[in-house]
Amino acid sequence: MLKVNNIDVFYGNIHALKDVSIEVKESEIVTLIGANGAGKSTLLKTLSGLLKPKSGTISYLSQQINGKQAQSIVKSGISHVPEGRRVFSNMTVEENLELGAYLRKDRDSIKKDIANVYELFPILGERRKQQSGTLSGGEQQMLAMGRALMAKPKLLLLDEPSMGLAPLIVKQIFEIIQMVNQQGTTVLLVEQNANMALSIADRAYVIETGKIVLSGTAKELQESEQVKAAYLGAL
């Protein structure tokens, strides 16, 4: 479904991604784990068109999307839940969800999809008229995910959904990620919480200082000594 071939991405002079290649197949959950500053968010931003790769190609549903504008990438079915949620704080929960459906014109089914999001995240339904800046971190994460789902994505990019959240909330969010995946959305999940990410993923990549250093099925990586030492801690 998504194929990233040897991309290099620069932030000014900083070589943030070096010759990175990954693949995501239809209906998988693929996770990308790595430490702070390894280039995880950079990769997602490149996929969603916020950054342009200097070289290499990105193909999605057998179309080249590298260098395309963010809006046409959203239109083609890739939604990106950015790191730190980035909800529109001065707007209500419902307005945030409506913005998620910005490129859609089918008003009736937008209404239905908002109702679906409230079903998936009942707390958002309760707070629909509340400004999203007043929500708790976990609720904002749910809103950011709900907002991304409003675009009806085929591929959902999630950037550290567990960041700064209590373990119980993280568990809840991960259950919802699995549920969304079972309903037919492919997921690319970027995480520092390797334990949680590997427990729900099919396959995984490990990224270090801009390079993919390991890849395999989630199970293989869970058992790999290298990953255990670096990311899973002594359990």
Partner: protein, 291 residues
């Protein structure tokens, strides 16, 4: 009952400031630029209205609409030509460019038609209306009504329409807005168009009210509208409306007490006070990031 008349006068002047201030605050909200050329768009609006009325012989409302449309186009051209390429430049570079655009507009105008003032034709009925023993000029009331309609229209656009929601989203977080599929460049252009249209309307209203327009007329009202925007909390739309009205009323009150020479000073004293006491403005708020 004279104070009621003064209050109405103050609100009329204030509503002109408010209309200009809205453009300042909207543009600042979306690209963090103080568009100092905005006062000159107001001036162009006044002249466009003047030409529409004198050459094409139209009434006040058609002139207002023609001026709004043309100013919207001018605003978008200014943004596309001068500011767009500076989007990732330092803010001071963009600010200096804005001042440059301001001079360019002023002196191009003077180059082509000279600096002499022009007398606006009487396009509004000028009678006094008695309400509870207070006589209020019909001009003031008409201006107030037109301003209120434009403000309601703006609130509707910003809160209920798709482009309005996109504008708010871009001003809150441009990258997140991109991820929603919002075309940020077009949204910024739309903001300039709407802000400049309001300045154009203010120009025609100003001309009809004060009857005297000239190429440098945008400088002082532009600065005062900027003060109004800061007073209300720059980036905040209701703040700009309230800021404009407050400024207009304060100025009128200062004049009414016989200190009309101090009128302009009063505006700048307000600016200094607000910057010392509450730099975020009356309605400005600091939102914190939640983790």
């Amino acid at each position: 009952m004279e104070w009621i008349q003064q209050l109405v006068n103050g609100i009329s002047v204030g509503s002109i400031y408010a209309l200009i201030a809205l453009g300042y605050t909207m543009v600042y909200g979306i690209i963090k630029l103080i568009n100092f050329a905005h006062g000159d768009v107001f001036m162009l609006g006044a002249f466009i209205g003047f030409f529409a009325i004198t050459r094409w012989d139209v009434g006040f409302l058609p002139a207002l609409i023609i001026s709004m449309v043309l100013c919207a186009i001018i605003g978008v051209i200014i943004e596309r030509v001068a500011y767009k390429r500076l989007r990732s430049a330092t803010r001071i570079a963009a600010l200096i460019t804005a001042i440059g655009v301001s001079f360019l507009i002023e002196y191009t105008m003077i180059f082509f038609r000279g600096a002499s003032p022009e007398a606006y034709p009487e396009v509004l009925p000028n009678t006094s209306i008695d309400i509870f023993g207070v006589s209020i000029s019909s001009k003031s009331i008409l201006i107030l009504v037109v301003t209120i309609i434009l403000m309601i229209l703006l609130q509707f656009i910003v809160h209920k329409t798709k482009i309005g929601k996109a504008m708010r989203a871009v001003s809150l977080d441009a990258d997140a807005a991109r991820l929603m599929g919002i075309n940020v460049d077009n949204t910024i252009s739309a903001t300039f168009a709407i802000g400049s249209a309001l300045a154009g309307a203010a120009g025609v209203i100003f001309g009809a009210y004060y009857t005297r327009i000239e190429p440098l007329m945008g400088v002082l009202p532009g600065l005062k509208a900027f003060i109004a925007a800061v007073l209300g909390g720059i980036g905040n739309i209701p703040g700009a409306m309230v800021g404009g009205l407050v400024l207009g009323v304060v100025e009128t009150v200062v004049s009414a007490f016989g200190f009309s020479l101090w009128r302009d000073a009063a505006a700048f004293i307000i600016l200094i006070l607000i910057l010392i006491l509450k730099p975020s403005g009356l309605f400005g708020k600091n939102t914190r990031e939640k983790v």
